[in-house]
């Protein structure tokens, strides 16, 4: 069965890159361009994995991760931060907020699908 991934990022180009890449690797990809839209999409149809940007206007990724963790139907869905934040304390904050993983931008398209697969595997 095709595994589904929800991408939440305010940058359209980033969304296009990741959805193209993951689509090419056979995942069913859905996108949302901000936190509330992402939460709504996840609630409507829980995906197997959520990749979420951290710095977004309005609701930031930390809040999205916290709300997902608090949601009864979505608490089990792994959430990975994909962020251009690369400072040490950013990393700590990401894990404190309930993210299950952390990938820094720029992503390496050759290794990115493997990392994604590992998050899905740990879940299964």
């Amino acid at each position: 069965m095709t595994q589904s991934i929800l991408l939440i990022d305010d940058n359209e180009i980033n969304l296009e890159l990741m959805s193209y890449l993951l689509g090419a690797f056979g995942y069913e990809v859905r996108t949302a361009c901000d936190g509330p839209a992402g939460l709504a999409a996840a609630e409507r149809d829980p995906p197997d994995l959520i990749l979420c940007d951290v710095v977004m206007p309005g609701m930031d990724g930390y809040t999205v991760a916290r709300m997902l963790a608090a949601h009864s139907c979505l608490a089990d869905v792994p959430v990975v931060a994909v962020t251009a934040l690369a400072m040490v304390d950013d990393r700590d904050k990401v894990f404190e907020s309930g993210f299950d993983g952390y990938i820094t931008k720029p992503i390496d398209p050759e290794t990115f699908p493997l990392e994604i697969a590992s998050f899905l595997k740990t879940r299964a």
Partner: protein, 507 residues
């Protein structure tokens, strides 16, 4: 006055017999003395200087001059020297007159038996008078000294009566400090002056009991016309007789408190600026990485041929895009690293590090780069495991920078990563040497080798990529972990960079 002392007696007497009679009388009383006799004003003056008498016994009926002028001469030349008038006849009125002008006693020659007592009394009175004078002079000098200090002190000083709290003296500095005249200050109470408030009553009792000071580092006072003055306030209480006096010293610290406040404000600004800089760094890092994500990402997907096959030229150009993108990323990382090190934000965790392992990791990650240029990349290490407590991250970063540089600036030959562990001066030393057979560094360039943003090169190397920050970052990291980074190089022969690790944690 002791009898055993030899008393010099000057006789102003024209009759040698009378003089002898007087001497006899004194001798009989057991007085130890020597005497000289004069009968003119000039010889009196000379004897006062040369004979230096302790007492003058003066006749009244001298042919050359009388007792009154003798007394005046003595008083004039030697104030305090006792003169006893010894005379044949003397009316009461005249006697009173002589006493008034300075004689201390008088007696008649027919009653000479009273002489020794009169002499002794006169000597004693003169002695105590001298002591009194000395005492008064000392008091006067002390008072003068105090007054001088009081008047010229740079601190404002005010003196008040403890019982009433009323100020009765202020010095010129206090007048300058507060702007009130002396008259405006005197008569006011300490409370009116703002020196004692309800919460802070001067601990008078304690001050008196201990003789201690009462001090307030900063006290704000109202000067004339709303002038605000910050003073360092010191009070001391002392008791003279039954009266208790309070002296308060006020040192102007307005400027100091102003600068202290300015300094605090400046510190706050600096902290804010430092925070703003951190935030700027974080946000710059984020903003620069975001577009690189698309550049490197799409170059990558194209090179992975996800959208379809590529022509050879397309592949070549895309690789250039990717290479430049990666280069840009390393520049951003270098800049951020340097900024973090310089702002002291770099946190390094110390742990036992297997040095050879780090060298091999670096060699593995950089061997494609070396192979691409046809260079050998060798790791040389002692047979035993070398473990040093340091920052693995910093060590990895330094060795990576040095090795990447070595590869960059070498066109033929080999790059050696050598781990050395030896004992020098009784201490174990660990060094990592990165040597190349590259272009080397000219002696004149070696001095600025470790400075940021100073790339060294000639026509042959200008095409090489880099921020010129690699060595600067490496040295800063080396310093941060307590080590040292140095370079030995020969132009056109090669360079060796030596990282000496701190031997902390080693036995």
């Amino acid at each position: 006055m002791s009898l055993s002392q030899n008393v010099r007696v000057l006789l102003v007497e024209d009759e040698p017999n009378d003089a002898e009679l007087i001497a006899h009388q004194l001798r009989q009383a057991g007085l130890l003395f020597s005497y000289q006799r004069v009968q003119t004003r000039d010889s009196l003056i000379a004897a006062l200087d040369q004979f230096d008498p302790a007492i003058v016994l003066c006749d009244n009926g001298l042919p050359a001059f009388d007792a009154a002028s003798a007394i005046r001469t003595v008083t004039e030349k030697r104030a305090g020297l006792p003169v006893v008038v010894v005379t044949g006849t003397l009316g009461d009125e005249e006697a009173v007159h002589l006493i008034k002008i300075g004689a201390c006693d008088y007696l008649r020659k027919d009653r000479l038996e009273r002489l020794p007592v009169a002499v002794m009394n006169a000597l004693e009175a003169a002695q105590s008078h001298r002591i009194q004078e000395q005492y008064e002079a000392a008091v006067k000098a002390s008072e003068l000294r105090y007054r001088r200090r009081f008047e010229t002190a740079t601190d404002g000083i005010l003196v008040a009566d403890a019982a009433t709290g009323r100020i009765y003296d202020v010095n010129p500095s206090l007048v300058r400090l507060l702007g009130f005249s002396r008259e405006e200050c005197c008569g006011q109470t300490l409370t009116e002056f703002g020196l004692i408030d309800a919460d802070n009553i001067l601990p008078l009792e304690a001050l008196l009991a201990t003789g201690d000071y009462y001090r307030r580092p900063v006290l704000q006072l109202d000067g004339k016309n709303g002038r605000q003055v910050d003073v360092e306030f010191t009070a001391v209480a002392f008791k003279v007789g039954t009266e208790v006096t309070i002296q308060c010293n006020l040192r102007d610290v307005t400027e100091r408190t102003y600068f202290e406040a300015a300094l605090r404000e400046k510190n706050r600004e600096l902290e804010a600026a430092s925070l703003a800089k951190d935030q700027f760094l974080a946000s710059m890092s984020h903003e620069l990485r975001t577009p690189l994500n698309a550049i490197l990402g799409f170059a990558g997907t194209l090179l992975m041929r996800l959208p379809g096959e590529l022509t050879a030229e397309q592949e070549k150009q895309l690789k250039l895009v990717r290479q430049s993108g990666r280069h840009l990323l390393s520049l951003i990382n270098d800049l951020l690293n340097l900024a973090k090190i310089e702002s002291g934000k770099m946190e390094l965790s110390l742990e036992p590090v297997h040095c050879e392992r780090v060298l091999r990791e670096v060699a593995t990650s950089l061997s494609p780069m070396a192979t691409a240029k046809g260079l050998d990349l060798k790791v040389i290490a002692p047979p035993t495991d070398v473990v040093v407590t340091t920052s693995q991250q910093a060590l990895w970063q330094i060795v990576t920078n040095l090795t990447a540089n070595a590869i960059k600036f070498t066109t033929a030959g080999e790059i050696r990563l050598e781990l050395r562990d030896f004992v020098a001066d009784g201490e174990t030393q660990t060094q990592v040497l990165v040597s190349d057979t590259g272009i080397g560094i000219r002696p004149e360039d070696q001095a600025r080798l470790f400075q940021g943003f100073s790339r060294i090169g000639d026509g042959a190397t200008e095409h090489e990529e880099g921020t010129g920050l690699g060595l600067s970052i490496s040295r800063k990291l080396a310093t941060l972990i307590g080590g040292d980074l140095s370079c030995r190089s020969e132009y056109r022969v090669g360079s060796t960079f030596t990282l000496t690790l701190p031997n902390g944690g080693r036995s």
